[in-house]
Amino acid sequence: MASIAKPAVQARSGMSNGKLVGRIVLYIVLGLVAIFFLLPLFWMLVTSLKPGDEWLQANWLPKNPTFDNFTRLFNNPSAPMFNWFVNSIIISGIATFLTLTLDALAGYAYSRLNFPGRKILFALMIGTLTLPGIVFLVPNYLTVNTLGWLNTYQGVIAPGLAGVFGVFFLRQFFQSLPKELEEAALIDGGTIWTNFWHIALPLSRPALATLGIITFLASWNDYLWPWLVLNDPTKFTLPVGLASLQGSFTFDYGLIMAGAVIASLPVIILYLLLQRYIIQSVAMTGLKG
């Protein structure tokens, strides 16, 4: 608090020197906070590059840096890391693609098309938003079991496709597009389908990107549901596999941190590339992870 007050006091006296001091203080505070956020990530990386006898030492740079933890991880038959990686990519990729497809179609209909039952269906969807996701846990597990989908990709993916957030989000976006464009296109011989495909969708690229990023991240990072559905270690996603490493290699800290690095690398790269986009997406949707 004092650090916020300080520049103001200085600024009031009208000294440019004071402003400079205030700015420096602000940079120091922000820098310390930034270190707090970066240090654990750095420690994860450092641990993963240390040989076993260094893990429990406090040196912040490895004395004998090695990729041994990574090679051990990828050559360990009881921890099929490569499978987990592929599973995560397939599941997150399909979940994102299908969510965008289903939600764009439905969002467009709820925004632009009139049909009996529209209002009731929409109200029902709003209703489910007030319920915590946990109430669906047990019954959805039983449903997935009845369908024979335990231990399958579709068992992990399907319940997520029911989500209503994307439908709302895209519907709101379609609402904001001018209707006249599509009405004119209809008179020129277009159809509802061509309106959707050639007008509404291309105009909605930013919204689709936002929903896509958020869906991919959520799916990539999800734990509880995939952990319940998947029992066979070769079917695990990265978070499920990673948590299982903790159980089977409890004191092999370097190996576990190597796994954490592998699981984080794609999202960190994605984040570095799309950081501005991701932050905007979150600010726009207010969706808590």
Partner: protein, 314 residues
């Protein structure tokens, strides 16, 4: 004619008169809605009723031959101190409440303070914003593994503490420190989310308000309390609400960091539900706990609306 039909069906109604005078229903909108609707019905609509239905049975997942109807027994058990579930269930409820008390204030207050620090024309502030938000993009499992590793008895935190000559602490073994470890990990992981939301709202506050206030001699603290907080009240309320819900759903952090220990004292409600349903396969009882969870959460959000929502109308 065809065009007029379509325009009509799009902008007014799906039933259009045909030559024979019958009204036909345009099926196209249903084709748009149907793919999502199938999943919605199967995994959000149906399970709502099915979950309540299952909670009325002694539903043992591992034994399909014996699943008798027990009425409200699964709910009564949760209030009967001699039942198998009573102690575990309420301990996990209290634990989850404890975590809400631990985590919501720092997540909201630190989130707001960081947003205020970033809400200046400082060069490089977007870099800081990106750094503060970065952990949010990680999996809860990764964030929690880092917390678990750092707060170990032999972990870097204790190493550093001994390094400066202080007494190391059993962060994960001695209450209430496990809550501290879980909370700090959670703050590290998700406070950037709150900061980003607050920052977006702060940028909507007109600069002239602050200029006017500083001409009148208000310092930054007075400006913060007199302008920022009142104008942000709806956003603060929104963040508190979603933060309570997010914290109530605590699961991965204690599972990975403490395993629910020591002595189940950090076992959250969702961990308990998972154990009851998927370890002991008492799914009827687990489903009843889920319903109770939903009711408790509704009460909490209603309380929050009473406490904070009302002041908004003043």
């Amino acid at each position: 004619m065809a065009v007029r039909d379509r325009v009509q069906s799009q902008s007014q109604s799906t039933t259009a008169p045909t030559a024979s005078g019958r009204r036909r229903i345009n099926l196209l909108p249903y084709l748009f809605v149907l793919p999502h609707l199938i999943f919605f019905a199967a995994f959000l609509g149906w399970p709502f009723f099915y979950g309540i239905f299952v909670s009325l049975f002694n539903y043992d997942f591992s034994d399909p031959t014996y699943r008798p109807f027990v009425g409200l027994q699964n709910y009564i058990n949760l209030f009967d101190s001699s039942s198998l579930q009573f102690a575990d269930f309420w301990r996990s409820v209290v634990n989850t409440g404890t975590f809400i008390v631990w985590s919501v204030p720092p997540l909201v207050i630190i989130g707001l303070l960081l947003a205020v620090l970033l809400n200046s024309k400082l060069p490089g502030r977007n870099i800081f914003r990106a750094i503060f938000f970065a952990p949010w993009s990680l999996s809860a499992v990764v964030a929690s593994l880092l917390g678990w590793w750092i707060f170990q008895d032999g972990g870097i935190l204790n190493q550093s503490i001994s390094g400066i000559g202080l007494q190391p602490n059993s962060w994960l073994g001695q209450m209430p420190w496990p809550w501290f470890a879980i909370t700090l990990t959670t703050v590290w992981w998700t406070v950037g989310f709150n900061t980003v939301i607050f920052l977006a709202a702060l940028q909507d506050i007109s600069e002239t308000l602050y200029e006017a206030a500083s001409i009148d001699g208000a310092n930054r603290v007075q400006q913060f309390l007199g302008i920022t907080v009142p104008l942000l009240r709806p956003v603060i309320f929104f963040i508190i609400t979603i933060q309570i819900i997010a914290s109530a759903n605590l699961f991965v952090q204690p599972r990975v960091i403490t395993g629910g220990g020591p002595a189940l004292q950090t076992e959250s409600l969702i961990m308990r539900i998972a154990t009851e349903s998927f370890q002991f396969f008492r799914m009827g009882s687990g489903a009843a706990m889920c319903v109770m969870f939903a009711i408790i959460l509704l009460i909490l959000t209603a309380l929050n609306f009473r406490l904070f929502g009302r002041t908004e109308q003043q």
